[in-house]
Amino acid sequence: MKTILSILGALIGAALMFGVGFYVSQFLFKEDVPPPPPPDYFSETSGGSRADLTGGDQKIVEVRDGESIRNAVADAEPGTIIRVYPGRYNETIFIDKDFKIMNYKGNGIMGQAGNNFVIRNNWVKDAGIYGIFPEYGKNGLIEHNIISGIADAAIYVGMCDNIDVRYNEVHDNVAGIEIENSRKVLVEGNYAHNNAGAIFALITPGLPIKNCRNVIFRSNYVINNNHENFGEPGSIVGKLPKGTGIIVLAADKVTMENNIVMGNDNVGIAVTDLSFTDNMDKDPKTDPYPDSLVILDNLMANNGNNPVGQVKTLGKARMSYKGLDILAMGGGKGSCIKDRSRYRTWGLDGYGACPPTTTTGIQSYMLDKPAEPRDVDKEREGKLVYYGVCSGCHAYDTRLIGPKVTDIQKIRADQQAR
C-alpha cells in the first residue's frame, strides 16, 4: 500500500512539475527567448555559387562615379564583365543581352523573361514598389541580397519557373519574399524580419499565368514581422494584415520545413483561399483553394500576440487570448501536418498527419542545364524568317511585290554552292 501511495505521489509530483514547466516555458517563449542568431550572409562558406563567373579571358570594363553604366552595357560583348564602382548613378539600365548582376545598391532590379539569371549580392533600399523582381523567367538564382523599405515585395518572383531564393535578408518591407503564380521555387535560408508579412506563396488572379505550385519554404528565419502595412491600395499584399510570418494564399503543394517562425503578432503561418482578399469568381481559370500543403518540422513560438482584422475576430470567437502559430481559413484539400500538437493551430481539422517525408533530397529547383534560349534548328529558323517576314513580298512561285523565291534561288544558286 505504501509503495502504491509513494508511486502515486511520485506520479502526481511529476505531473505537477510538468505542468509548472509547461507554464514556465510558455512564459519564457512569450517574452524573452531570443531567436537563434540570423545567418551570416557574406561568409565564404554560406551558400556557394552555382554559377561560376570568374575565369577565362573576359574583357573587364570599369565604370566609375560620373560615367555611364548604360554606355558600358551598350558596348559590352558576350563575356564582358562590367564593374560598377561605388558612386551615384542616376540611370535606368535595360539590358537586352544575357547578363548577371552582382554587388549592387540602388533602385530595384526588374526583368521580364530573363532566363538563367543570377541576382546576387545586391543592396536595395527604399526602391519603391519592388526590390528584385524577375518576371516570366526560367532558371534563376537570387541570393545574398539585402532589401528593405519596399512598398510591395522585396523579392518578388512573378510567373517564373525553377528559381532558388537563398540567403537573402529582407526587412521593413510590406512583403519580404513573394512567390507569385510560379512553379518550382525553393526559398531557403533567408532572414525575414520586421516586414508586414514575411514570406508568401500566392496566386494573384487576373494574371496570364494562373497557378502557383511546388514551392518549398525551408530553414528560413521569420522573426518579428510586425511592420505597418504601407502597401499600395489595390495590391493583394496591401490587403494583408500586418504581423504575419508565412502566408500561403491559394497556392498548391507548398512544403514548409525547418523554418523558425517567431514573434509575428498576427499569426505565424496563415493559409487561406482567395476569398480572403478577393472575389473568388474573378478569374474562372484560377483554382482559388490552397491544396496539398505539407507542414513538417518547424520551430514556432510567440506568434499571434496581437492579432488584427479577421484573425482578431476569430480569436474573440474561439474565446482565447493565446495567439496562433498556424491558421487555416477557407477551402482546400489534401494537406497534411506533422506533429500538429507542437503548434497552436486553428482550422486544420481537414489536415491529415503527414507520412514520413522530408525535402532534404531537393537541393535546388534550378535546372541542371541552362534553359535553352532557342527551340529551333537553323532550317526551321530560316523557314520562320521566310514565312514570318519575307512572304509578305515574295511568294514561292509567283511574283508578288518582289520577285518569286524560285527566281531568287536561281540568282543565288552559285553563292549557295560556295
Binding site: T92, F94, D96, N107, G108, M110, G111, Q112, A113, G114, N115, G128, I129, Y130, F133, E135, Y136, G137, K138, M159, D161, G206, L207, P208, I209, E232, P233, G234, S235, I236, G238, D278, N279, D281, K282, P284, A371, E372, P373, R374, D375, V376, R380, E381, K383, L384, V385, Y386, Y387, G388, V389, S391, G392, C393, A395, T398, L400
Partner: protein, 427 residues
C-alpha cells in the same frame, strides 16, 4: 449576178429600215422579260448549289478562290494554312505567350484552308451579310484604319452610335476572348452578335442564308471552300468558319520593334529605345499588362478610363462575369498597330496616343465618376512621367506599326454589290 443579188438584198434592206425602231424597243423587252422569268423560276424552286460544271448564268465574278495561303502562313500537305512567325523560335512560358523580348507567343488559331481564308475575305467586305446590304464587316473594321473604324463608338446600319468602339482585328488569332467586356470566347460567337444584332448588321439567320444560297457566285465559292459539302446548301457554320479563317490570317508581328526584339538593336532610334525603356520601367509599368510580344496579357483590368462624352458609366466586364470587382473592367487591348487605331479606350475618350498616356499620368482614379467605387488595378498609380518621357513613349508606340501583311481588298464582290466600307457616314 448583181441583179439577182439586189433582188435578195433589197427586201431585207427595206425590212430593216422600216422596222428597226420596233426592234430597238422589242429586243430589250424580250431580254428583260426572259430574265425575269428565269429569276422567278430560280426563286420558286428550292435553290440548289450548282456544281461548277454547270456554272452557266453565274455572275461575271471569277469563281476561283486562292489556293495559296496568305503571307505569314505555310501550306501543309493537307491543304491547311499554319501560322509561322519569328517568335516560334522562342520558348513559351506556360503557354501564356507573355513576357519580354524573346518570348514565345500563345498558340494561334490557324489550320484553315487557303480557299476558306479567301472566301472569308470576300464575305468580310461584302455588304450582302447585312439586312439592307448597307454594311459589311469592313464598315467597322476598315483595313486602312488598322481594322478599326476611327470612331470612338462604332456606327451600325442605322447610323446610331453603338455602346463601344470597334477593336482592331490585327492578331485576333491570338485572342481568347472577344468584345471589350470579354463576353464571347470564340470569333464565331462574336460575329453572330455583329451579324444579327438589330443595331449592327441587323440580319437574321434565315435571310442571310437565303441571300447566300440564292447567289450563284457564292454557291460556287462555297463549293470550292467546302468540297465535302459539294452541292449542298450553304450553312451558317460555313459562313462563320470562313470569316474566322480570314480574320485569323491578319498577323502583324514584323514591326521595327520586332526587329529590335529579334536582335537588331539598330532597328529603333535612340529616342524610340528610350520610349521602350520607359514603357517597361518599374515606374511606368506599361509592360506589366501590355506585355510583349503581343502587347497585351489578354486579361481584364479595371483602370477607370472615362466614358464617352455624355454616355453613362459603362459597367464593362461586371456584366459578363457577374463580379462587382470587375465593374468598369475591360480587356487589355493589344498595342500593335496602335498608331493606326485612334481614338483610344473602349469609349474612344482619347483622340491621340499622347492623350491616352496622359490619362495614366493623372493619378489613380481621377476619371472615376463620383459615387463609383471601383476596384482599380494595383498597377494603376501615378507614375509622374515627365513630358519628355510621355513623348518618348509615343515614339515607341509608333514602332509597333506593321501592316505588311494587310490583305487585298477585293475589286469586285461575289454578290455584285458595291464595296461600302469606304463610304462616309454622317456622324
Amino acid at each position: 449576178m448583181n441583179q439577182r443579188f439586189r433582188i435578195i438584198i433589197q427586201p431585207l434592206d427595206r425590212i430593216f429600215t422600216k422596222h428597226v425602231r420596233y426592234l430597238i424597243v422589242l429586243l430589250p423587252l424580250v431580254v428583260f422579260v426572259s430574265l425575269g422569268v428565269i429569276y422567278q423560276s430560280s426563286n420558286s424552286k428550292e435553290p440548289d448549289r450548282p456544281s461548277s460544271d454547270k456554272a452557266s448564268g453565274s455572275a461575271s465574278f471569277s469563281t476561283q478562290l486562292r489556293d495559296r495561303c496568305p503571307p505569314g502562313f505555310e501550306l501543309t500537305d493537307s491543304n491547311t494554312c499554319e501560322c509561322r512567325h519569328m517568335y516560334q523560335q522562342y520558348k513559351n512560358l506556360q503557354g501564356a505567350g507573355v513576357g519580354g523580348l524573346q518570348a514565345g507567343l500563345p498558340e494561334a488559331r490557324d489550320g484553315f484552308s487557303p480557299q476558306q481564308i479567301d472566301l472569308g475575305r470576300l464575305l468580310f467586305f461584302d455588304p450582302v451579310l447585312s439586312a439592307d446590304s448597307s454594311t459589311s464587316c469592313a464598315s467597322c473594321h476598315k483595313p486602312e484604319k488598322g481594322f478599326s473604324d476611327g470612331r470612338g463608338r462604332s456606327m451600325g446600319m442605322h447610323e446610331k452610335p453603338l455602346q463601344r468602339g470597334a477593336p482592331s482585328l490585327w492578331n485576333v488569332a491570338f485572342k481568347k476572348s472577344f468584345f471589350w467586356d470579354g463576353r464571347a470566347s470564340t470569333l464565331e460567337e462574336q460575329m453572330q452578335e455583329a451579324l444579327f444584332n438589330g443595331d449592327e448588321m441587323g440580319n437574321t439567320k434565315d435571310s442571310l442564308l437565303a441571300a447566300l444560297n440564292n447567289d450563284q457566285a457564292y454557291q460556287l465559292l462555297f463549293n470550292e471552300a467546302y468540297p465535302e459539302n459539294h452541292g449542298g446548301q450553304i450553312t451558317l457554320e460555313e459562313v462563320y468558319t470562313a470569316l474566322t479563317a480570314f480574320q485569323t490570317s491578319l498577323i502583324s508581328l514584323n514591326s521595327r520593334y520586332d526587329q529590335y526584339a529579334h536582335g537588331n538593336h539598330n532597328a529603333l532610334s535612340e529616342r524610340e529605345i528610350k520610349g521602350l525603356n520607359v514603357f517597361r520601367s518599374s515606374v511606368a509599368r506599361c509592360a506589366e499588362c501590355h506585355t510583349p510580344p503581343l502587347f497585351t496579357n489578354r486579361q481584364i483590368a479595371v483602370i477607370g478610363a472615362p466614358a464617352a462624352d455624355g454616355a453613362p458609366f459603362d459597367e464593362g466586364a461586371q456584366a459578363t462575369f457577374g463580379d462587382s470587382s470587375l465593374r468598369g473592367g475591360f480587356k487589355v487591348p493589344t498595342l500593335r498597330n496602335i498608331a493606326k487605331t485612334a481614338p483610344y479606350m473602349h469609349s474612344g475618350a482619347f483622340t491621340t496616343l499622347e492623350g491616352a498616356i496622359r490619362f495614366y499620368n493623372k493619378g489613380r482614379g481621377h476619371a472615376v465618376p463620383e459615387g463609383e467605387n471601383l476596384d482599380l488595378h494595383w498597377l494603376i498609380h501615378n507614375p509622374d512621367l515627365k513630358d519628355k518621357e510621355v513623348k518618348q513613349l509615343v515614339d515607341f508606340l509608333k514602332t509597333l506599326t506593321d501592316q505588311r501583311f494587310k490583305p487585298q481588298v477585293p475589286e469586285q464582290l461575289p454578290s455584285g454589290l458595291p464595296l461600302v466600307h469606304k463610304h462616309k457616314r454622317s456622324s
